[in-house]
Structure formats: structure tokens, C-alpha cells
Symmetry: C2
Subunit: 198 residues, 2 copies
DNA sequence: CGCCCTCTATGACAGCCGTCATAGTAGCGG
DNA sequence: CCGCTACTATGACGGCTGTCATAGAGGGCG
């Protein structure tokens, strides 16, 4: 696997993101992460002297970069990009996973935001940065498709909001219905460039 | 307080919902709930023989009923109901809370969905039921406003998805921007297709 | 009174948590 | 060979978790 090619440190961050998005932050133990990453437990302290908080933060940051790269790939694979087609691709990533692998996991950034366990000031900043890192390429893509710059960021926020909400509902219902619904209902809106209220 | 008028059992469910939506399920201890509810710890086992799982499920169900009732109240207070105005009211509930009380808490149903801690089959059903209980009055309100029945459920799902996603982003950013954005961008979309007045 | 039923009090239990202390290994430059 | 650095191994620590066992109030009622 390409994964095991990476160093233990990177594997731990990756495994942390994977377990967090499945079980939540509090329910994910350091020992679980180490085992899932097939990494030596003795190295935990060495690589992450900041403890669990640091590992969680890096996992969130990793997820933000991953989502951003994913957007770029969607656009690269798209012959004639359009807002609705981009949104479709973003949604389809989740419907595909849920259909093939079940509804066990959600978005790690959402998990880290919701399950902040009270403390963790730095985790709050990490989640905000992750959402920003995700929003940025989406908004930029929209502007390149002809959406006015003033609305591009807003539409990107709407897309990500609807997607994240639908992910949660899909997990609860164990059905991709909500994901398909937001794609179907929001797609035309994104293409039309509906004039916002006064 | 009206709250302390209620029996200890109901207070525990209420406190559970309140703590879960702030810290998540796993990070919320039974002892925290009992203390927050000013309820006797000895009664926990008596009222909730199903343990934490039962208490969490009841908190989620309570939240679903609460959200449904809230929709009814929004409509009752609305002179001339419209889809966008309903959505505005739903969003404003959260912007108001965040502005006045800070970004500590989110939606308990989302927390219970994301933070399912692996097990808890019954909690999955409870969260699905809660979303359904919330969707139902929204969809019904939309049909009464002139939205075709076939699209009412879809639009309700879109509204709730966008709202929930924006709640999460707002908490991460510690800013109501995302909430205001989805209200502004989605409002006109929801009204479109509705024949204005008789 | 005595009995029952609802509710409460208290403490112990095993188990997991994140953190940390200590020791040890491998490799490399000198 | 040394010393040094990077990394790993292992186990213990206090603290918190949900669960449970046992005992005891309090009140209605015959």
C-alpha cells in the first residue's frame, strides 16, 4: 500500500483523521490511532509532544488540505466545468463512499468541531482553517466559471454547508437521500446565478 | 425557573441534550448530567435502566420534538408566511444564540450522529427519527405556502442541511457569517416557484 | 403498626484514558 | 572506539468512565 510507504508520523495523522471521522474525537483513543496506523506507541510522544491535541489538530489540517486538493482534482477531470457539476462531484464522493463502504464515517472537520470536548482552543482554530482551506478553491473555481467574485465566497459557503449538513443527515438516516436531494435542488441554483435579496 | 418545576427525570433528559450539544456524547458524563440537572444520582438507574444509551436517545428525541414545535411557533408568529421567512426564522434562532451566548453549543442531533462512538444502534434510529420529526412540519408548511408536495420534502431537507452545515461552520469560525450567508443565498431560491399571494 | 412501592444515597468495581518516566536501540559522524 | 541524535519499548500513574450492588428514605394504605 502507498500508505505504509509513508513514515510513521504521517500514518498516525492519517489514521487519526480516519478514526475521528468515524467515532468522534473523544471516543478515539491514542492507542486506537497507534494500532490503526501500525505505528510504534513509543513514538507518539516523540512526534507529537503536544499530546492528543496536537495530533487532532494536524489531522484536521490534513483533512482541510485533502478537501482542497480534491476540489482541484474534480475540476481537472471535468471537461466543461460548471458550478452544478462541481457540486455534483463533491456530493458524489460521499454517495459513492456510503454506497460502497457504509455510513460509518463522516467529515473529520465536523467531528472535531462538534466534539471539541470543551477545551482545545487551538482545535477551534484548526477547524476554522480547514473550512477556509476548503472554501478557497471552491470560491476561486466559481469565479473562474463566471460567478461574480462578490458572490463566489457566499456560494461556496452555501455549497459546503449544504453538503456537510446532508452528510450528517445521510449518516443518521443511513440513506443517501439527503445527499442526492441537495445536489438536485441546489445544482440549478448554482448555475443560474440567482440574484440575492436586496 | 420553569425548568426546575419539571420532575427530575425530565430535567435529566433536558440537561443531557444541553450538555451533548455542547461537548458531544462521549465527552458528556452521566455525573455531569446529573449535576447539571440538580438531580439525584441515585435515580439515574431507576429512571434510565437502559443506561447512558437510553438517556442519550431520549435527549435526541426531545431535541427532535423541540425543533418541530419551534417550526410551528415560527409559523404562528408570522403574519404572512413564506419559505424564505420561515428559513430566516430558523437561522435567526441560531444567530441570536451565538451572538448573545457565544458559540459553545450546536445541534444535539448532529452531535449524537457524529459522535456515535461506534456502537449504539438505537441512537442511530433516534437521530434519524429526530431529523424526520423536524423535516415533517417544515415540509408541511411549505406545501401550505404553495410549494408542490413533490418538492416540499426535498426543499425541507435542503433547508435543514444548509442550516446544520452552517451551524457547524459558524461554530468553527466563531462567526455567524455562514449562517447569514445561507439565509441570504437560499431565501430567494425557496420563494421562487411559489405563486405570490392569491 | 407492617407492607409495598417509588425514589434516593453511597460506594465500589473493572476498565480505559492521556500523560509521563525510564530505558533501550539503531545509525551516523568523528 | 566515543558521543550524539532519532526513534522505539514498556510500564506505571492518577483520574475519570459507565455500571452495578446494597442499603435506606418516604409515603400511601390496609
Amino acid at each position: 500500500m502507498a500508505v505504509s510507504r509513508r513514515g510513521p508520523r504521517e500514518r498516525m495523522v492519517f489514521s487519526a483523521a480516519q478514526l475521528i471521522r468515524r467515532d468522534g474525537v473523544a471516543a478515539t483513543g491514542l492507542r486506537d490511532i497507534v494500532e490503526h496506523a501500525r505505528a510504534p506507541r513509543g513514538s507518539l510522544r516523540h512526534y507529537f509532544p503536544g499530546g492528543k491535541e496536537q495530533l487532532v489538530n494536524e489531522a484536521v489540517e490534513w483533512a482541510g488540505r485533502y478537501a482542497a486538493k480534491r476540489v482541484a482534482r474534480f475540476l481537472a477531470e471535468m471537461p466543461e466545468p460548471s458550478p452544478s457539476r462541481l457540486f455534483d462531484a463533491m456530493v458524489r464522493q460521499w454517495t459513492d463512499e456510503y454506497r460502497s463502504a457504509g455510513f460509518a464515517a463522516g467529515c473529520p472537520v465536523v467531528a472535531a468541531t462538534v466534539d471539541r470536548a470543551g477545551s482545545a482552543e487551538s482545535t477551534g482554530q484548526a477547524t476554522a482553517a480547514a473550512f477556509a482551506a476548503w472554501n478557497r478553491p471552491v470560491a476561486r473555481a466559481l469565479t473562474e466559471m463566471g460567478v461574480p467574485a462578490s458572490r463566489a465566497v457566499s456560494l461556496a459557503t452555501l455549497m459546503i454547508s449544504a453538503l456537510e449538513g446532508a452528510i450528517v443527515i445521510a449518516r443518521a438516516e443511513r440513506d443517501v437521500r439527503a445527499l442526492e436531494t441537495v445536489a438536485r435542488e441546489l445544482g440549478p441554483v448554482l448555475d443560474a446565478g440567482v440574484t440575492p435579496r436586496d
